[in-house]
């Protein structure tokens, strides 16, 4: 039916701390692609854009944003979308993603990925906005499930039903964050394996693997820890269902030397080679 973008293999979130290690590496690094945080490169000039230019010469790049606020009831931020489009023209990403969340209303940005109730009203609202954004950018975008700490009394359906329905109605891609499925599953006591089973295979273009931390009676999506065993297990199940999907380690805080992330990425590779055939694991490049 729909033409999925190519399987890129195993990548990393690009972080400024690693620029020298990546660009000065004498031997080729076992990284197939990079995800950039869009907002960090939506600047006028200087080092960020210079680094991006050098990275994109050598690696496929995807763009991942945190400020689209697609589920907000505030008007779409066209100025932001304009700058996002300009960056996309420059970076030539394989795809662009953001989160199924809202970040603020009334002109305020809370800089958080806030959840919404899973209602018919929200479905219509969010699917409509994704369509508008896709029309504006002239391409499908990928929407990521977030970690959440609360649910809403008014929800009329499960998160997985909502996510699957959004993808269908908006005709968008999905970025499945395996850690977020695990964290939300623990926080809301749902079966994370079932969540994954309910997500349509043909929509998922990317996996995030990340770490979280433990609060009081709650798991928090902090991206400051290694990926835990349970998340790797869930990843294995996801591979069985979705087949080859571009996979990356998403580390945003307490950032270790590159080698540590490469070791985590190796673990993902190893799991994938146990599930997928060499033929399936061939990347487009």
């Amino acid at each position: 039916m729909i033409d999925k973008p190519p399987f890129l293999g195993f990548g990393l979130g690009l972080r400024p701390q690693h620029y020298p290690e990546i660009l000065d590496a004498e031997t080729e690094l076992p990284i197939d692609w990079f995800e950039i945080i869009s907002e960090n490169y939506m600047v006028e000039g200087g080092r960020p854009l210079q680094m991006l230019d050098r990275i994109k010469e050598r690696y496929p790049v995807v763009m991942h944003g945190v400020s689209m606020s697609i589920a907000s009831t505030a008007p779409l931020n066209m100025e932001y979308l304009g700058r996002l489009k300009k960056l996309a023209d420059h970076a030539n990403p394989k795809w662009i993603s953001d989160h199924l969340c809202w970040t603020g209303v009334h002109g305020v940005n809370l800089h958080d990925l806030l959840p919404i109730p899973y209602t018919e009203e929200a479905l219509n609202h969010v699917a409509g906005r994704i369509s508008q954004v896709q029309d504006f950018l002239g391409r499908r975008i990928a929407i990521e499930n977030v970690s959440s700490y609360i649910e809403f009394e008014e929800s009329e359906m499960d998160e997985w039903t909502f996510v699957a329905e959004i993808a269908k109605r908006a005709d968008c891609w999905l970025l499945l964050d395996v850690n977020n499925v695990f964290v939300s599953g623990q926080n809301h006591q749902f079966d994370d394996g079932n969540f994954i089973e309910q997500i349509p295979v043909e929509r998922v273009v990317q996996f995030h693997l990340a770490g979280h931390s433990e609060g009081e009676d709650v798991l928090i999506d902090t991206h400051d820890q290694p990926v835990c065993d349970e998340v790797f297990e869930l990843y294995e199940n996801a591979l069985k269902r979705f087949g080859p999907v571009s996979t990356m380690i998403e580390r945003d805080d307490n950032i270790p030397p590159l080698a540590e992330l490469l070791a985590e990425l190796d673990r993902a590779r190893e799991i994938a080679s146990g599930v997928l055939s060499p033929e399936q694991l061939k990347t487009a490049a």
């Binding site: 209303v105 305020v108 958080d112 209602t119 009394e153 009676d217």
Partner: protein, 262 residues
């Protein structure tokens, strides 16, 4: 319009910003915990995240103030200037100015000046990549056009005029040394912040160079720069001194364009 969702988002945002709890009744959480505790994750994260951004962007102002005072001011700032930016990079842009008005500041004009140095460096970091004028460009200017020559500074350039030894204190803080005692001056001191080969740089300018950079920012020409330099120090060598500065600015990527008068 998603009326119910809009109402929920307004309530939830209000309760995050003001740490209120009206929205709690709309949440559902497992029995072993409470809606208060779970919502507090969002309420805490909001403040922690923004304080973290401020403490990164104004690391040396933080060092100068110490944890407790910086935290207090950061909390006040967050209340006065909730973020309206899609990039946290810009959240702290009003902080130097905020420091001039805050309660602690009346006897600490130094705070704003240290924070201004940090902001200027941040701004230089990702300013527009405009062209860089070179010595070759200068050599190509016809001799008769030199006196009317004006200069466009690179977008990354900032000229700070400060009343205290903020730069010395800032540099000591950067180098993890004990800063000198605070000093105030009658005549402002000039600091130039700019970007050379993608690296942010800063240096103190003496009174003459500070005045000359000021004149360049104002679009004044070489002849006027020489005239003004002649009033400050030895008149006979004024043109040579100005030419020396121009050479230095060209070599360190301070100037974007040499403009010949029409």
């Amino acid at each position: 319009m998603a009326k119910n969702l809009a109402n929920l988002q307004s309530q939830m945002q209000n309760d995050i910003l003001k740490r209120e709890s009206r929205v709690l009744k709309r949440f559902s959480v497992p029995k072993h915990t409470t809606a208060e505790k779970r919502f507090a994750v969002y309420q805490d994260a909001y403040q922690i995240r923004l304080i973290e951004v401020l403490s990164e962007d104004y690391e040396n102002t933080w060092k100068y103030l110490g944890d407790e005072q910086f935290y207090k001011l950061a909390v006040e700032y967050i209340k006065a200037h909730p973020s309206d930016q899609t990039n946290m990079r810009w959240f702290g842009r009003h902080f130097p100015e905020f420091l001039t008005q805050c309660s602690l500041s009346s006897d600490h004009p130094i705070l704003t000046e240290i924070a201004s140095i940090e902001k200027a460096i941040e701004d230089a970091f990702d300013a527009v990549d405009d062209q860089t004028a070179t010595m070759e460009n200068l050599a190509a200017i016809p001799p008769e056009a030199i006196t009317g020559l004006t200069f466009k500074l690179k977008s990354a350039c900032r000229l700070l005029r400060q009343q205290t030894n903020a730069l010395d204190i800032y540099m000591a803080l950067v180098n993890e040394q004990t800063p000198d005692a605070l000093e105030s001056f009658d005549q402002p001191r000039h600091t130039l912040v700019w970007r050379n080969d993608m690296m942010c740089q800063y240096r103190a300018l003496d009174a003459e160079e500070g005045m000359l950079v000021d004149l360049m920012f104002d679009g004044k020409d070489f002849a006027l720069m020489c005239e003004m330099a002649a009033t400050m120090r030895d008149a006979d060598s004024a043109a040579t001194r100005v030419a020396g500065h121009i050479t230095n600015w060209l070599q360190t990527q301070v100037i974007s364009e040499l403009i010949i008068a029409k």
